[in-house]
């Protein structure tokens, strides 16, 4: 089965494909700029935003440092309230646990509320293999599912589609040839399509935005109300969540809820926040299972700098401001976690993956992501850190191609020469020799092809600064 954290191609190749799609770029630009504008507006209203962010970062860091303790506390609290916790080391264990529970409950169909973690573990595919149909209840997830597509954004999974494309998809899949390409009409079509399915379901599957250790509560935030139906209507509820979703107390939840909606959708508060714990006889699901997934997180936790990525609350603000994401969209990252946060998360969850190692390079280090991150993840710093991890991994791989890559040889030689003023000056003379290559027509040079395809080479001056200084100034 395909691992949703392993890109099928190196980032530059996948990005090239995405860049060729002009509709995609227009869709992304429109959507991200709208969310960006709204986010800036509502974040600007909060006076103590930076203190709130610092508080959130501190809570997450503390929890991650004592994760063993908080997970044990969470398990005990869930059990005390009539739920059951299952532990999954990796994606395969997680999807098997969930599939066994679903089949054991005798369900042929399950209702799902948007969950990245179930995408991460490839749940829908394994359910299909076992004869169970998974129905996505979130509008955007439904669009992705009906189109046989993959999510391309953490919060807005169908951000790569415009309303005309969605209309065509719904018209085909729902048998509605006269459907209008208006947002209200499309939402209504989806509502009618989903409503009858909601009522017939006996098993619901959700993710979690937060898990509260002291009460065993699960918090799910959403915009459409489908989540609440999914969490309350079925007889059996299965929640799948990464072990990084824990916060210590119910009080801590308040800090994150204030940050999340403003950062994610530019709303002051998300329309639906459902917090539940365990089982209440006669009210809501009568069986509750919490599947806690590791899938590489513990390994990421071992890196003191790298682990700050596990603070992430999946608001996707970093995607919406990223100039690279805006041009290529989520699919180019080849992982269920795209954008800047995906570029630091994916290679940590799959450190052995060569394609994942290209993700930290998918950034100009412009810093826009770090500015908006509500939990203060130093993304550019992590990107640079993970680049050196990738360089060392290539070196250690023993592959001759990696050890003798032109980039490595050149940077090593330059590094040595640049540390010595006299050798540095000799190299400057070389730049002067190359002077005829620069200029206004710009030559296309092999080896510098990436640069010269769209940019002229600079023309080296006749005299370096240091020579001017020596000869005329000093």
């Amino acid at each position: 089965m395909r691992d949703a954290l392993r890109p099928e191609a190196p980032f530059p190749a996948a990005a090239r494909t995405a860049l060729a799609d002009a509709t995609l770029r227009a869709n992304l630009r429109r959507a991200t700029s709208t969310i960006r504008r709204r986010r800036d507006q509502v974040v600007g209203e909060v006076e103590d935003w930076d203190r709130l962010r610092a508080q959130a970062a501190a809570i997450k860091d503390h929890t991650l440092r004592h994760l063993d303790r908080y997970l044990a506390q969470l398990e005990a609290a869930v059990a005390e309230r009539g739920g059951q916790v299952h532990w999954a080391r990796d994606a395969a264990e997680a999807r098997d646990v969930v599939a066994d529970l679903v089949v054991g409950a005798g369900a042929r169909r399950v209702l799902k509320v948007k969950s990245l973690t179930t995408e991460e573990i490839g749940l829908n595919d394994v359910l299909a293999e076992r004869g169970v149909e998974a129905v996505e209840s979130d509008l955007a997830e439904l669009i992705v599912q009906l189109g046989g597509d993959r999510p391309s954004h953490i919060v807005v999974p169908a951000i790569h589609k415009n309303r005309f494309e969605i209309r065509d998809l719904f018209a085909r899949a729902m048998g509605l040839p006269d459907l209008a390409p208006e947002p209200t009409a499309l939402a209504e079509a989806a509502r009618l399509y989903l409503r009858e399915r909601f009522l017939a379901m006996t098993v619901g599957i959700s993710g979690a935005n937060f898990l509260v250790a002291d009460t065993g509560a699960v918090a799910v935030v959403e915009s459409e109300g489908n989540g609440r139906m999914c969490l309350t209507l079925p007889h059996t509820l299965i929640t799948v969540a990464g072990i990084d979703k824990v916060v210590p107390t119910f009080e801590d939840l308040g800090v994150f809820l204030r940050l999340l909606a403003r950062s994610a959708t530019g709303e002051r508060m998300n329309p639906y926040t459902t917090v539940f714990s365990g089982v209440v006889p006669g009210d809501g699901p009568q069986a509750f299972h919490l599947v806690l997934v590791d899938n590489g997180r513990t390994r990421a936790l071992a890196d003191p700098l790298g682990r700050t990525a596990l603070r992430c609350i999946r608001c996707a603000a970093c995607l919406n401001v990223c100039p690279v994401y805006e041009r290529v969209g989520g699919h180019a990252y080849g992982s269920v976690y795209p954008g800047p946060i995906g570029a630091v998360l994916t290679p940590q969850l799959r450190p052995d993956d060569e394609h994942a190692r290209t993700l930290p390079y998918a950034s100009t280090l412009c810093g826009a992501c770090a500015d908006v991150c509500p939990v203060g993840i130093p993304i550019p710093r992590l990107l640079v850190h993970l680049r050196s991890v990738a360089v060392r991994a290539d070196e250690a791989s023993g592959r001759l191609g990696a050890r003798l890559a032109p980039e490595r040889l050149m940077l090593r030689a330059l590094g040595r020469a640049f540390a010595q003023p006299r050798q540095f000056e000799r190299l400057q003379a070389l730049a002067r020799v190359m002077r005829p290559l620069g200029g206004r027509q710009g030559r296309r040079l092999p080896g510098l092809g990436g640069w010269t395809r769209s940019r002229a080479l600079p023309t080296a001056p006749r005299r370096s600064f240091r020579r001017w200084w020596r000869e005329e100034h000093r």
Partner: protein, 252 residues
């Protein structure tokens, strides 16, 4: 006050006019300028590409070159950001405790040009005249790493006879990112194309910035397109060197 100029390897090698302008500007403001000739490169390209260990000799060279400096000034936001953000830990990684101590002591004395002018010298009007329509490109490192804020704009606002035009999406990255422009050339070119489009639409005769690297990138596309817009470093505008605007693309 005596300033040690860290001219940066890029300016030293490819854009000496930027270095000369920085010297003239500082001297005009009554500052004594010194150029420690043992300086080379801060190592930004290596560090940011993941070749951290390979950058350590450059870190050592930089720290030794400027150890005696009262104040170090560089006409580059990204080089100063690298020194400020990573030198203490990089110097630590060399395994030389004396070097680590010197690096930690040196870092607070390293200034980007506009920081030095506004914060240390306390000037915003440097007495320049630059009779052109100019677009200011706030580079990513000026904005989001050094948080230069309105320092560059305050300095530019005081320049005589200059019209500062607004550029749409001014604060978005030009797509350079060092080796990003080569490793991810296609994405970089897409970002650059948008940036250059916005600059051309602004009607500017010149685009200026605090980093020669971003200007090299933007200028490369302007030259390729044959666009009549010059790239000038902020130091050149503040030195009042309006002769650069006669040339297209990257001035020598």
């Amino acid at each position: 006050m005596r300033v040690s100029l860290f001219v940066t390897c890029l300016v030293d090698t490819l854009y000496p006019a930027v270095g000369r302008a920085t010297v003239r500007l500082l001297e005009r403001l009554g500052v004594e300028v010194d150029f420690p000739e043992s300086q080379t490169c801060c190592g930004q390209l290596h560090v940011n590409t993941g070749y951290r260990r390979e950058a350590l000799p450059m870190v050592g060279n930089f720290v030794r070159a400027f150890a005696q400096a009262e104040v170090v000034v560089a006409p580059s936001a990204s080089c100063v950001a690298l020194v400020r953000e990573t030198y203490p830990e990089l110097a630590e990684e060399t395994g030389d405790p004396a070097l680590a101590r010197e690096a930690t002591a040196l870092v607070p004395r390293v200034y980007e040009l506009t920081e030095f002018l506004v914060d240390r010298l306390g000037v915003t009007d440097v007495g320049a005249r630059f009779p052109h329509r100019v677009a200011y490109h706030p580079t990513c490192h000026s904005l989001r790493a050094l948080h230069l804020g309105d320092r560059p704009r305050r300095l530019l606002a005081a320049v005589r006879d200059m019209e500062l035009v607004t550029v749409e999406g001014a604060e978005s990255c030009c797509g350079f990112g060092g080796t990003f422009a080569i490793k991810n050339a296609d994405v970089s070119a897409a970002m650059l194309s948008d940036k250059v489009g916005a600059i051309l639409a602004s009607g500017a005769e010149a685009v200026c910035a605090a980093d020669s690297s971003c200007l090299m990138h933007i200028g490369g596309a302007l030259v390729r397109r044959g666009a009549p817009v010059a790239t000038v470093h902020l130091a050149q505008v503040l030195a009042g060197e309006d002769n650069v605007c006669g040339q297209r693309g990257v001035p020598e």
